[in-house]
């Protein structure tokens, strides 16, 4: 089964909730927020797919909405796939993938830290790069470019 067929298989299984947005050079699919966990588990556990390695998690601020991006890789079949989940900017919440790939923990903390996406079910969703008392999420478009923290020492 090649990448295009994987995309079509996903579209068939999750009719209307998964949409292939790009096939070349990488397969990019848009997944509905409520189906994310199910799709990930399916991609990881199905013997033909075996996307057993989570490469990264990040997010993009599209002003009207946020787009959380997951990149998965199959170490046995040598291919990778990108998942995108759209979430509203005022309530950016997606389920955490830590139950499927424990490595998701750090990436989710980083995405939370810089873009303010909340990952429900994450065991310890705290800031990872910025100081704990930082205000705001600096990679959001709404964060003022010239805003600097107040130094107290």
């Amino acid at each position: 089964m090649n990448l295009c067929e994987i995309g079509r298989e996903l579209e068939r299984r999750y009719d209307g909730l998964v949409r292939v947005v790009q096939e070349n050079p990488d397969l990019v699919v848009e997944v509905a927020r409520e189906k994310l966990l199910e799709v990930c588990r399916f991609l990881k556990d199905t013997p033909d797919f075996e996307f057993n390695f989570l490469i990264f998690i990040t997010a993009v601020d599209r002003v009207d909405y946020l787009e959380v991006v997951y990149c998965l890789r199959s170490m046995s079949n040598f291919r990778q796939i990108m998942l995108k989940v759209q979430v509203p900017a005022d309530n950016p919440e997606v389920p955490s993938l830590t139950g499927i790939w424990p490595a998701a923990g750090f990436d989710e903390r980083e995405t939370y830290d810089l873009l303010g996406v909340r990952f429900s079910g994450h065991p310890d969703l705290t800031r990872i790069l910025l100081p704990d008392d930082w205000e705001g999420h600096p990679l959001r478009k709404s964060y003022p470019v010239d805003k600097r923290p107040v130094r107290t020492y």
Binding site: L129, L130, P138, Y143, K147, R148, P149, R151, Y153
Partner: protein, 194 residues
């Protein structure tokens, strides 16, 4: 270009018993000669053993390590002894980007160093924030502590660090035990290179 006086008077401490004694000696007939000789001796001792603190903050640290390796022989200037504790160190070699998260730690390390102490801002980032005018980067080491020598470059070559050390040695030689602090000098502008 004027003098940067953000940290003016910051190091003005009591000259101490030796300094007070030398001030009295300087008033005696011929005392200036004695004080001058004592100053020269102490300054010479200090300038020949400027031990740096071992720490690097970003890519510039690679070049600093290269300076410390055998090819450039930093020991010629008595600065080869990178100290793991700020309490042993004389100069703080700030090599790299200072983030707001790191800044309190850098400041604390500076405060833990015993006087007399000096600071070299090594690289554009430590001089002025460099290419990173962003939410997380402090715009220069001089926002945290007084800087004695600025070395621009991204990263500066090891030769630049050696030259900066020589500039610091010149500055140390201008110090005196009888004065409070360091005399404020007009910044020296060099026409090295282009």
């Amino acid at each position: 270009m004027g003098v940067d006086d953000r940290w003016k008077g910051y190091h003005e401490t009591d000259p101490g018993p030796l300094g007070n004694l030398l001030t009295k000696v300087a008033d005696l007939p011929g005392g200036q000669v004695l004080v001058g000789a004592a100053d020269a001796l102490v300054d010479w001792g200090r300038k020949c053993s400027i031990w740096p603190l071992t720490f690097g903050l970003a890519c510039c640290a690679i070049e600093m390590m290269s300076t410390g390796a055998s090819r450039y022989d930093i020991d010629r200037f008595g600065s080869g002894v990178f100290r793991p504790s700020p309490r042993h160190a004389d100069v703080m070699l700030v090599a790299g980007t200072i983030t707001y998260k790191m800044a309190p730690r850098v400041r604390r390390l500076y405060e833990q160093m015993p006087a007399p102490k000096w600071v070299i801002a090594y690289g554009n980032c430590a001089c002025s924030g460099g290419p990173f005018n962003t939410y997380s980067v402090v715009q220069g080491m001089d926002e945290i502590a007084p800087v004695d020598v600025y070395i621009p470059g991204c990263p500066p070559r090891p030769e630049a660090l050696l030259y900066g050390l020589m500039k610091l040695q010149d500055k140390i030689m201008a110090e005196s035990l009888t004065r409070k602090g360091v005399p404020v000098l007009e910044p020296v502008r060099d026409r090295q290179g282009a």
